[in-house]
């Protein structure tokens, strides 16, 4: 028994809701998770998808803490419903035209400041986003001083949604020259938003501007292949994708 306990490494984490100062100093809600140790730990900002600040995204946030990162996932729909369920707040945000890009950048800058000020943080911070959060992770990496970024199947980095919709979603590929950090892109070959032609356009822009990046497109996978609670889940792509995420953040945040 003594020998057994000697070889079992202690693991522990803390996860809780917090409040941070977001865009224009507004107070917004966030989910925060960190390993139970003295650190110092690098940080990760998790950007939730359009269906909201939901249980699945909070689980992802805890996963980063379990892997040795202090992680924060701020509620992008907080203003639409600070005390509402995530789906109601997401619906209200969509009906109002979506999350404005400037507000998103302001809120994410607040999450970045929060992580960098922690006494047990290294100060290195990456960003990762899924679905609409993939586009926003790209946007954050272009407008904020980050150390690494991961875009998981974000649509409309290039291209514009059809006209006549209430959603205000502008292409952001023109910001690529300002990309502040190395970018990992994980996509599904069967996805149509973003399509393989669109991810090729992003690669072209990254190459033109001499930005370090790696893109991986998984055959047999479509959109949202990481989502374990959806029929789109593809374990082979997800397992490989998670490994690439650990390698990427390990390379750029842990050195």
């Amino acid at each position: 028994m003594e020998m057994e306990s000697a070889i079992v490494k202690y693991e522990g984490l803390l996860a809780e809701t917090i409040r941070i100062a977001g865009h224009d100093g507004d107070e917004i809600g966030a989910y925060f998770a960190r390993p139970l140790g003295s650190g110092p730990y690098p940080g990760v900002i998790v950007i939730h998808h359009m269906p909201g600040w939901d249980e699945a995204t909070k689980e992802i946030t805890r996963r980063f803490a379990a892997h040795g990162y202090v992680a924060v996932c701020h509620n992008l729909h907080y203003r639409e419903g600070p005390n509402s369920s995530p789906d109601d707040a997401a619906a209200a945000a969509r009906a109002a035209g979506g999350v404005p890009d400037d507000r998103f950048v302001g809120d994410t800058g607040g999450a970045l400041r929060y992580l960098r000020a922690l006494p047990y943080a290294t100060g290195k911070v990456g960003v990762i986003g899924y679905c609409s959060g993939g586009r926003q992770a790209y946007l954050a990496a272009c407008r904020l001083p980050l150390d690494a970024a991961v875009d998981c199947y974000g649509a409309f980095v290039v291209g514009t949604p059809p006209a006549g919709m209430p959603l205000r979603m502008e292409p952001i590929i023109g910001l690529t020259a300002s990309l502040s950090c190395p970018l990992l892109g994980l996509f599904g070959a069967e996805d149509t938003h973003p399509s393989s032609a669109e991810t090729a356009q992003i690669e072209e822009a990254l190459t033109t501007h001499h930005k370090p990046y790696e893109f991986h497109t998984y055959p047999g996978a479509g959109h949202a292949f990481f989502a374990t609670d959806r029929v789109s889940y593809r374990p082979e792509a997800a397992v490989d994708g998670w490994q690439r995420i650990w390698t990427w953040f390990g390379r750029y945040l842990n050195t």
């Binding site: 939901d54 409309f156 209430p166």
Partner: protein, 89 residues
């Protein structure tokens, strides 16, 4: 696919949510990821009264086939009541 495809229209009528009946102001219609239904994408409708807050919402997430059948039934019900189809004089 993350379509962002969203249509919005004003509606007049009432809906029943967890706190009872309330007046509706808008319907947001989109074909995108559902929150609950076990499909990759669904036709989602949020009947809402934005003045009353995000919780004043009646939400449905329908398979594409169900949504088309619903449209047919709505048109059939209105036609059966003698109301002209949209666009007809």
């Amino acid at each position: 696919m993350c379509s962002y495809a969203t249509q919005k229209t004003a509606v007049a009528g009432s809906g029943k949510g967890p706190d009872g009946w309330f007046r509706l102001g808008s319907a947001t219609v989109y074909f995108d990821h559902p929150y609950h239904a076990p499909y990759e994408h669904t036709l989602n409708i949020d009947f809402a009264n934005e003045e009353l807050g995000p919780g004043s919402r009646v939400a449905v997430e329908l398979s594409a086939e169900s949504a088309r059948e619903l449209v047919r039934c709505v048109e059939a019900a209105l036609a059966a009541a003698g109301l002209p189809a949209h666009g007809d004089s």
